[in-house]
Symmetry: C2
Subunit: 280 residues, 2 copies
C-alpha cells in the first residue's frame, strides 16, 4: 500500500498509509493531495506537508476559534488568514453574533477542492452568505486601508514558515495585524510545534512583545501535528485573554457549542505551560 | 541513512533517522536497539517499538513520579513495574524521604544495557543503594505475600499490552496491585495514547472502578509517543489525588525538583480532559 511520507522535518517524519487518493493536483502555488486514511479519515496535504484531517482537526480549529471568541464576548467581524479548508469558518459560524467572516486564502484551488471533498470538515460553509472569500496573499490583504481598526478577531491559520507562508511570520505582518484590529480586538496565530520549532516561537514572542500591550501563548495537542504540544500565540491592544474571571458565567454557552476538544476547563489549563516550554 | 520505522500501529508510524547504532541485541525476551538521533538524543527501542528517549522522557517520567509523590506526601517504599531503563527511579531519588525502591523488570539485558549506555536518562541510579532490582515478571512479583500492604506508591511503567506485557493489563493484575498497596497508597499506570488505544483505556477504567474506591485519569504529552495526549491512570483505596487543596503549600518544594515538564500548574491541569477523551 502506498504511504504518505511527510516532508516537514529533516530527520524525522510520520508515515500514513493511503487508503485511497481522492485528488492529486498541481495548483499555481503548490502540490495538493487529498486522500483517505484509516485513523484520521480524509487528509489534506500541501507540498507533502499535512494540513488537516477529518478526525483530529477539531483539537486545532476549536482552540483557535472558541477560546478567543469566548474571551472577547462580542465578536462581529472576523478575518481568517489561510484557512481555505473552511474548518475555522465552520466553527466560527456556531456563534450566531458573528456578522461577517473573511477568509484570505492565496490558493483558489484549496478553496474549491475543500468545498468539493472536505464537506465533513467545513460543512459547506465556504458558500455561506456570511463568508467572504478573498483569493490573495494575506500579508497584502491586511495592508488595505478599508480594514483599519476593522476586525474584532483575526485568526492566523497560517502554514509553516516555509515557501509563500514566510511573509506571515515577519515583523511587518504583526504590525499590519495590529492596525487591522479594533481596540479590544484579539489576534491568534498558529505557531508551530515547540519541540521542533523553537525559533519560530521565540521570534513571534519578540515581535508581539514589541508591538502589543497584551500577548502570550496557549497550547493544544493535535496528533497529526507531530511533536507533542502545539503552540498558539495571541495578542491584543486592550484585551488580556488570560483573565478568565468571567468564564464561569459562560459555561452553559460553551456546552452548547458541542465541541470535541474545547471545554471551559481546557480554556483555562491551556495557558499552563510545561516547564520546558516556559524555558523557551 | 538508515531509518528506525516504528512498528506499533498498522497503518501509521513514525520514522526516525538513525545517526548511529549503539547496541543491537536479541535478548531472551525481545530485540533491543539503542541508537542516536538528531532530535531526541539516544533512543531505546524494544521489538521495534520506541520505549524512551533522552530528550523527551521527562514529560513521561516526571508525570508518573512527582505527581503521585506530591499528592501522597509521605512515600517511603516504591515499586516500579518495568522501568528497567532507570528513568523513573532516577526521578524518585530526588525525593530524599524515599527509603526503598524496587524495580521489577523482566529483562536483565534492559537493565544492564541501560546502565551502560543510558546514563543521561538514569544517572547511574540502577546501582544506587536504595534501588533493589528484581528480574521477574511483575504480574508474579506482586503476588508475593511479603509485599502485602507494603508499597506507598506503585508505578506501572508498563509497555503496550502486546507480548509479555499483556498480563499487566488484566483484572487480576489490578487486584494484586491493590493488595500490595498500603491503605493510603497510590498506584499509577502508563495507559497508552487514547487517540489510538481507546479500548485499553476503557478496559482499565472498568477494572479500576470494580476494585478501587478512588481512581481516575490524568494526561501528559510526549512527542515520541505519537498520537497526541498520553493517558496515565491512577487508583487508591483511600487517597483522592484530584484533591489539590494542599498543593499551594508545596510549590517551593516542587520548584526544587528542577523539573523539565512537571509544575504545580501542570499538576492541576493534567486532570482537565479534552471533551473527546471525556467521551471515551
Amino acid at each position: 500500500m502506498k504511504k504518505f511520507s511527510e516532508n516537514l522535518y529533516k530527520k524525522y517524519n510520520q508515515n500514513i498509509f493511503i487508503e485511497k487518493i481522492i485528488v492529486k493536483k498541481k495548483s499555481k502555488f503548490q502540490d495538493i493531495l487529498i486522500f483517505n486514511s484509516k485513523y484520521f479519515g480524509k487528509i489534506l496535504a500541501l507540498d507533502n506537508v499535512l494540513q488537516i484531517t477529518e478526525f483530529d482537526h477539531y483539537f486545532y480549529s476549536e482552540m483557535l476559534t472558541h477560546l478567543p471568541m469566548i474571551s472577547h464576548g462580542n465578536v462581529k467581524k472576523v478575518l481568517i488568514i489561510g484557512g481555505g479548508d473552511g474548518a475555522i469558518a465552520s466553527e466560527l459560524l456556531k456563534h450566531k453574533k458573528i456578522k461577517e467572516i473573511f477568509i484570505c486564502e492565496i490558493d483558489e484551488d484549496v478553496i474549491n477542492l475543500s468545498h468539493k471533498y472536505l464537506k465533513k470538515i467545513n460543512h459547506g460553509c465556504l458558500k455561506n452568505s456570511k463568508v467572504n472569500i478573498a483569493i490573495e496573499d494575506a500579508s497584502k490583504f491586511i495592508k488595505n486601508n478599508k480594514f483599519k481598526n476593522y476586525f474584532d478577531l483575526i485568526i492566523a491559520d497560517r502554514p509553516d514558515p516555509i515557501g509563500p507562508g514566510k511573509n506571515l511570520f515577519k515583523l511587518n505582518f504583526y504590525k499590519d495585524i495590529k492596525n487591522s484590529l479594533t481596540h479590544e480586538g484579539i489576534a491568534v496565530f498558529q505557531n508551530g510545534v515547540p519541540f521542533f520549532q523553537k525559533k519560530e516561537l521565540k521570534d513571534t514572542k519578540k515581535y508581539l512583545k514589541s508591538i502589543f500591550k497584551f500577548y502570550g501563548l496557549y497550547l493544544t495537542v493535535v496528533p497529526t501535528y507531530i511533536g507533542g504540544h502545539m503552540a498558539l500565540t495571541w495578542a491584543s491592544k486592550a484585551t488580556d485573554i488570560t483573565n478568565t474571571i468571567n468564564l464561569n458565567r459562560k459555561i452553559k454557552f460553551i456546552k452548547k457549542l458541542n465541541t470535541k476538544y474545547y471545554t471551559s476547563e481546557i480554556h483555562q489549563s491551556s495557558f499552563h505551560l510545561p516547564q520546558w516550554i516556559k524555558d523557551i
